[in-house]
């Protein structure tokens, strides 16, 4: 007898259920394998890595690489580990994400609810900016930052991340607000609400899901950025990824792979945290607008 469940799930016998689980578990393994390689090797002493099977679990478990990566490893001339660079990354990423989310929300609001002649062209230009390869803009952006006198500062990096984040946040918010009933805006206008009041009191409170999507997207991209971080940071504003790269990528130094992997996992923790904690809202947010399903 075929079995019908009440949701989207279509008929599935015990056999097909088993098959589905098998496939799902296979992909769980596929997605986890590289992480496994990283985690397993981050707990091995270096001898074991040099000598042996990289896929095996450690024979001797050690926390040393983690301690080193956090606070002892040489990053440049200072043996500080990655510890101090986390703060830099947060100081850059939090304002940049906040700014590009707020501005993206305002842009999406204007582009859907306050359309003016030429709004389509403006949106097209903002959207196309998502696709520019960052290597192109390196030299001219350096010129502009130099001109503004914020080269090598945290402000400079915030500006750059913010500017190149506008495109995607505007896209997300525009698609989300497009489905938002315009009648409500009209009603509020009749009630005498101003442009900003309507935004703050009516749109923003119901933008939760799309804010989650935008923040996840921007946070991940900006946290993981290396190119801008390396090119536009100063000695006291170096972000996490650049420090990690310095730890991992030195060309003629001895490579301590276990420390590298420990450092890499550490560097990824904030983004992993964001994904895992807000994962469920993420799908909901995508549902609510980003994919226009």
């Amino acid at each position: 007898m075929s079995r019908i469940s009440q949701d989207n799930a279509v008929a599935g016998s015990r056999m097909t259920r088993a098959l589905i689980y098998t496939v799902l578990i296979f992909f769980v393994i596929y997605y986890l394998l590289p992480l496994y390689v990283m985690v397993a090797n981050s707990f091995k002493p270096l001898d074991e890595i040099r000598g042996g099977d990289l896929m095996a679990l450690p024979n001797v478990w050690t926390l040393e690489p983690w301690r080193d990566a956090w606070s002892n490893a040489q990053i440049g001339v200072e043996a500080t580990g990655l510890k101090p660079y986390f703060m830099n990354s947060f100081m850059i990423v939090i304002p940049a994400v906040t700014l590009s989310t707020i501005v993206g929300a305002l842009n999406g609001y204007v582009l859907t609810k306050w359309q003016f002649k030429g709004h389509g062209a403006v949106f097209a230009m903002l959207l196309l900016s998502c696709f520019i390869p960052f290597q192109i803009v390196l030299i001219p952006a350096a010129k502009v930052l130099g001109f503004l006198g914020i080269s090598g500062t945290i402000q400079g990096l915030i500006l750059i991340h913010f500017v190149y984040g506008i495109g995607f946040s505007t896209l997300f918010f525009r698609n989300y607000y497009a489905a938002f009933p315009t009648e409500l805006i009209r009603a509020a206008q009749i009630d005498g609400a101003s442009f900003m009041q309507i935004f703050m009191r009516i749109l923003l409170p119901s933008s939760g899901p799309i804010i989650v999507v935008t923040v996840i997207w921007q946070f991940t991209n900006q946290w993981n950025d290396f190119l801008f971080g390396a090119s536009f940071s100063g000695f006291d504003s170096t972000p996490m990824t650049v420090a990690l790269n310095n730890l991992v990528n030195s060309s003629t130094g001895v490579k301590e792979y276990n420390v590298h992997f420990a450092g890499a996992i550490m560097a990824a923790l904030p983004t992993l945290f964001v994904y895992i904690v807000s994962g469920r809202y993420f799908v909901r947010g995508l549902m609510a607008g980003a994919v226009k399903g």
Binding site: Q74, G76, A142, A230, F235, N245, N246, L247, T252
Partner: protein
Amino acid sequence: MKINKFLKTTVAAAAVSAFAGMASADDVEVLHWWTAGGEAAALGVLKDDLASQGVGWQDMPIAGGGGSDAMTVLRARVVAGDAPTAAQMLGFDIKDWAGSTGNLANLNSVAEAEGWDAVVPAALQDFSKHDGNWIAAPVNVHSTNWVWVNKAALDAAGGKAPTSWEELVTVLDAMKANGITPLAHGGQAWQDATIFDAVVLGLGADFYKAAFIDMDEDALGGDMMVEAFNRMAVLRSYVDDNFSGRDWNLASAMVIEGTAGMQMMGDWAKGEFLKAGKTPGEDFVCIRFPGTQGLVTFNSDQFVMFDQGEASDSQMAMASAVMSPAFQSAFNVVKGSVPARTDVPNDAFDDCGKKGMADFAEANAGGGLYGSMAHGHANPAAVKNAIYDVVTAHFNGEYDATEAAEEMVNAVLDAQ
């Protein structure tokens, strides 16, 4: 001398700090790619040295791509009008920078006062000077035509270190017969080119100079070049199939573990052996690439100063500190390279280090010191990378030796 310098610096510092908030103008901001492990720690010696003179150190490390990422960042900084005080540079990059911006600091005063001309080999001065002026302070000299051999594997293959191409092939064959990978190698363009350097040099110093330094068309496409590519193909046959993309450290590990017989790599590889607790002479031996005894291909890390007006006193202090024999010794012992000055005592160095210093001095005296093509000391970056392309393509079987030699001429001409 030092005291004089010290005084000058202090006076400058005092003068500068008279303006509120300008105190950091007396610091040096240093862009470099010695970012991890021992070499970064060794650079700490320099930092401490400067600190003792009242000069602060603002660290700006950018790792990756053998300094290429650091050069990208340097470009961004210079374009932004925010050049660092000093930047680590290699070979032709120094020439390119000197040629294209002209805003490098002139170090003549400290060089003359400390007599750099007398202690730095002419081959290095070629990079440290532009239009006859000192613009860079050389830190070290790596020589790249080394072979690192597992002692046990060598003993099993006859025990005699090869001194000629033919002997090398014999040893490699014996190692192959013993069931190990004779040659540990990582298939990355610069590693391929490092071997190619040695192979070309092994065919004669004149040929090396004509091909790579003078970029003579006949040498680049001639029979000798075909022979060089043939030899590369021979070496390729001793490399295991999984070589491509392998980091050099992992190739070294193969030699350390004895699964491979030898590795052709610059002197920085020694660090890996030492880190693994191996002793030079007992567990492994270091020899020059067979056929290149008495010759050295080098690459030299230098600190270039960017012109920053009144801050130049701290730059002078840094240049002076870099060139001090004590730092040159301390740094190079850790780094595996040899001092850029020829008058540094070798007491602190191990066997391989002493041998390296001796070889370096000998090559310098005998005119056998050449800039390494693979490491950007023979020709400009564009040409170097064009050669990389051909060498790598050949090593991966895209061309045969004749085609490769023809392609070499085209590539080099095209890139100039």
